[in-house]
């Protein structure tokens, strides 16, 4: 029913799991952000999460804040989000999700947003500040259009709320690794493992872990118990520091975390850890 869920399941069936990469649209400019996203898809990233820059990104740490603020200052418009999805899906098969705070969708019109996203070949939405309790219009629009909808699950969520997140999500449920915001962390909280097993207990078959993930070792560790690992700030930093080439190298490096250790390409890690 969801191609995204199928892609994730296929990676899982291969004994690994999905690598999901985040980059904001319009950073450092629209064309480069499209190239960078395509580079992710061509270098081992299984699904793309494109962030729509927003004036008040409460879930984001400084790296992503800085990039999205620069994109807004550079003239980002909502329209560019759809343009980017269209350009990327024309070039690669990788499912493309938009990550967006809720107000831009409300202002565009929930139904109109869904129709437009379907029209450009987008897979669905990740909504960091929309909980299923407030999502009636989006549940309806996504059911009507078949778009994926990814809700968040947190270590602090009750089992009842985890079940709601699992039941209402399509594609995958976003397991927040830690109580916090986006940004690379040296160790991904052990809370993530516990959260995923609680999600399994309420029926999740597609749970991906994000927040703080930045190394192939962390990706490997997560794929041991989850269906996918989501990397954001580390890729944004690579783009900021070294452009599209650095993003491609970072993706290649991260993708080594999906396979057995021998699969590692031995890329100089300095390209991404500067």
């Amino acid at each position: 029913m969801s191609r995204l869920a199928d892609v994730i399941a296929a990676r899982k069936a291969e004994g690994s799991g999905a690598l999901i990469g985040y980059l904001p649209v319009g950073y450092p400019d629209l064309a480069t952000s499209i190239e960078a996203a395509v580079a992710l898809a061509e270098n081992g990233v299984d699904a793309l999460e494109l962030g729509l820059p927003y004036s008040d990104p409460v879930m984001d740490g400084v790296v992503i804040q800085r990039a999205t603020q620069a994109a807004l200052a550079g003239g980002f418009k909502l329209r560019h989000g759809f343009d980017a999805v269209a350009a990327i899906t024309a070039r690669v098969d990788t499912p493309v999700l938009l990550m967006t705070y809720w107000n831009p969708v409300v202002q565009f019109g929930v139904d109109r947003f869904a129709d437009e996203l379907v029209g450009v070949g987008g897979a669905g939405l990740i909504t960091p500040d929309l909980i299923p309790d407030e999502a009636a219009a989006w549940l309806e629009a996504s059911d009507r259009t078949g778009l994926d909808r990814v809700f968040l699950a947190a270590p602090s969520s009750t089992d009842e709320r985890l079940k709601q997140a699992v039941d209402q999500s399509r594609g995958f449920v976003y397991a927040v690794s830690t109580m916090g915001i986006t940004g690379a962390r040296s160790d991904v909280d052990s809370a993530a493992r516990g959260l995923v097993s609680r999600l399994r207990a309420v029926g999740s078959t597609s749970a991906c872990v994000g927040l703080g993930v930045s190394t192939p070792e962390q990706v490997r560790e997560i794929l041991d118990y989850a269906d996918g690992a989501i990397v954001g700030s580390m890729l944004v930093k690579a783009l900021a520091d070294g452009g599209v080439d650095a993003v491609a190298a970072a993706a290649t490096l991260l993708a080594t975390g999906k396979g057995p250790v021998e699969g590692a390409l031995g890329l100089p890690s300095s390209t991404v850890e500067r």
């Binding site: 927003y54 004036s55 008040d56 990104p57 409460v58 879930m59 740490g61 400084v62 804040q65 603020q69 807004l72 418009k77 909502l78 809720w102 107000n103 831009p104 969708v105 409300v106 202002q107 565009f108 960091p128 500040d129 929309l130 909980i131 309790d133 407030e134 809700f151 968040l152 699950a153 947190a154 270590p155 602090s156 969520s157 009750t158 709320r161 997140a165 927040v176 109580m179 916090g180 915001i181």
Partner: protein, 420 residues
């Protein structure tokens, strides 16, 4: 149902909880603790006692006839929230929430602040209860309200200047929310107005409704009748909800909220959220906000840091839509002239925020005429605004002030708050 009985999470189509899932457990915990406290006589007694022995409640009302002559001769009565400890209405909410936080076993209070009044009140409560305190304040506001930054530091709080976005109140709220997500086990986010996700809008209103309850009885006693109108300034809307609430079900009493119109509500530089905004989602609730076509929040502008906010509490959005209250714009200059007028005619220097209510009241008095009685919420005192007012009216000895600043910087006093 009486309008006074609205309990959220929704006011009509406004309110709700538009926050990351990580915060839901904390909001549920807070809501449960607040619901319990609300009906617990021990809690009520504790809060009432603090207000009596610490805040200085009940605050008095003051009739201002010389000011009233400039307001169409109407009978103007001020509710003196400026006389509260720490200098504004903000302390009412802060003490209530700090008591709830203590019940929850939280040891750390965080807050956003614009004018610094809410930050000062929160730092005060943290000092009183022996809690750690971190205040987020937009960098622009730390500059224009330097005195309050020093006050907070003297009270033991850490003030973090926020350098992202527009570097004002809305960005301070973003950073406070980010801090809360990461530290929710030990930390209570002491939100300073009737905005944010449920239960904040109702809880903050409930802690401020004492303003209207006292004032309603005081005006009845003084005049033998209800006022014809009640006025207040509206930033997020806490002092306005506080004084409106007791009158919501008195249909003869008109309610007026005055928004900051900066250079004018038809210019690009204002903070007139209900006048010029449209419904959307910001900081956890659906309400009116200033935004562009894409739903990006537009930066607000006001001479008053406490009103310089592009959102407004959801209950106000609902009162505006239903017509129960009216919301009108007041420019920087109108507010500053009203600030001077009250100072000259009555010997009371209001906060620039409150001066917006006074400016609106002058217009309203002229409209309603001399038979009208208008109750004004004087939400705060103007001490914090002396530099702004001094420069505005060119009555500040700039050289002396610069010397003082230089001396303070030399001694490092601005960094430690010791300059007070």
């Amino acid at each position: 149902m009486a309008l006074r009985d609205e309990l959220g999470p929704y006011f009509g189509e406004y309110g709700g909880r538009f926050v990351p899932e990580s915060l839901i457990a904390a909001l549920d915990e807070l809501d449960a603790a607040y619901q319990t406290a609300k009906i617990d006589p021990v809690f009520q007694e504790e809060l009432a006692n603090l207000h009596k022995t610490y805040t200085g409640r009940p605050s008095i009302i003051t009739e201002v006839p010389r000011f009233g002559e400039h307001a169409g001769g109407a009978r103007i009565i001020l509710k003196r929230e400026d006389l509260n400890h720490t200098g504004s209405h903000k302390i009412n909410n802060v003490l209530g929430q700090a008591l709830v936080a203590r019940r929850l076993g939280k040891t750390r209070l965080i807050a956003e602040t614009g004018a610094g009044q809410h930050g000062v009140a929160t730092a005060t409560a943290a000092a009183l209860f022996g809690m750690e305190c971190v205040v987020y304040m937009g960098e622009v506001d730390t500059e224009r309200q330097a005195l309050n930054v020093a006050r907070m530091r003297l009270l033991g709080a850490t003030v973090i200047p926020v350098t992202t976005g527009s570097r004002t109140l809305k960005d301070a709220i973003n950073d406070a929310l980010r801090d809360w997500v990461a530290n929710v086990d030990t930390t209570h986010y002491l939100l300073g107005t009737v905005a944010g996700p449920h239960p904040f809008p109702v809880m903050v209103r409930d802690f401020h409704k004492i303003i209207g309850e006292e004032a309603r009885a005081q005006v009845l006693e003084l005049t033998g009748a209800l006022p014809d109108a009640v006025t207040a300034c509206v930033g997020g809307g806490s002092n306005a909800m506080g004084i409106f609430h007791a009158f919501l079900d008195d249909p003869s009493v008109k309610l007026y909220g005055y928004e900051a119109a900066g250079d004018g509500h038809l210019t690009e530089r204002h903070a007139a959220t209900i006048t010029r905004g449209r419904p959307g989602v910001l900081h956890g609730a659906r309400s009116y906000l200033l935004q562009d076509d894409d739903g990006q929040t537009i930066e607000s502008h006001s001479i008053s840091a406490g009103l310089d906010y592009p959102g407004v509490g959801p209950e106000h959005a609902w009162l505006a839509d239903t017509g129960r209250a009216s919301y009108l714009p007041i420019t920087d200059d109108e507010a500053m002239q009203a600030l001077r007028l009250l100072s000259l005619t009555e010997g009371i220097i209001p906060a620039i925020e409150s001066a917006h209510a006074l400016a609106g009241t002058i217009k309203l008095g002229k409209e309603l005429g001399k038979d009208a009685t208008i109750l004004v919420n004087l939400s705060g005192r103007g001490d914090k605004d002396m530099e702004t007012a001094g420069k505005y009216f060119d009555i500040l000895d700039a050289a002396a002030l610069a010397d003082e600043d230089a001396a303070a910087i030399r001694s490092g006093a601005l960094g430690t708050g010791a300059s007070e």
